[in-house]
Amino acid sequence: DAMVIQNPRYQVTQFGKPVTLSCSQTLNHNVMYWYQQKSSQAPKLLFHYYDKDFNNEADTPDNFQSRRPNTSFCFLDIRSPGLGDAAMYLCATSRDKLSNQPQHFGDGTRLSIL
């Protein structure tokens, strides 16, 4: 089945130690998104890629970076995680930027900070 896969499902890192979360998709979708979700709240968009075009949300901390080396993969890098960065990180895709398209989500990576 075509899907969005996030690895790892659970990640523990130390305060200030860089961490990378990964996302892959077999849907061949043009758009990939990264969301942060805390305590069953609404997902908060961090950034998205439309193909290779990177778009950062205005309130996304500089601590968060992303890479998309090809259509299938996208990475979230947190350069110096703080305690406030502990959250569920969700990757999502959509076929294109048309506003009537739903998003397809992975099962997330739950990040803990020691």
């Binding site: 069953s40 609404a42 739903p102 998003q103 989500f105 997330g108």
Partner: protein, 113 residues
């Protein structure tokens, strides 16, 4: 500015009874409306969407939603709730031609056997 309100943090319903999860929205122009469900430690799963046409939209797992333009609402409904429907439900909106999806705060549904 676009916004979505889910006025109930939690909805409790007995198995077999009808359920409604409420959503109202504010958007410039015509809205595209979505419902997603999230089970524990899982990602969001698309249930249904309203784009245009018939105000009653049918989706996955027996869910449906009714678009009401005058009340700017898009309530999620199911005629007969199952215990397995217990989850977190998110309403979301996009403006026509807009890119960003705005999610509501979520409503936790508990279905009691």
């Amino acid at each position: 500015a676009q916004s979505v309100a889910q006025p109930e943090d939690q909805v409790n319903v007995a198995e077999g009874n009808p359920l409604t999860v409420k959503c109202t929205y504010s958007v410039s122009g015509n809205p595209y409306l979505f419902w997603y469900v999230q089970y524990p430690n899982r990602g969001l799963q698309f249930l249904l969407k309203y784009i245009t046409g018939d105000n009653l939209v049918k989706g996955s797992y027996g869910f449906e939603a009714e678009f009401n333009k005058s009340q700017t609402s898009f309530h999620l409904k199911k005629p007969s709730a199952l215990v397995s429907d217990s989850a977190l439900y998110f309403c979301a909106v996009r403006a026509t031609g807009g890119f960003k999806t705005i999610f509501g705060a979520g409503t936790r549904l508990f279905v009691k056997a």
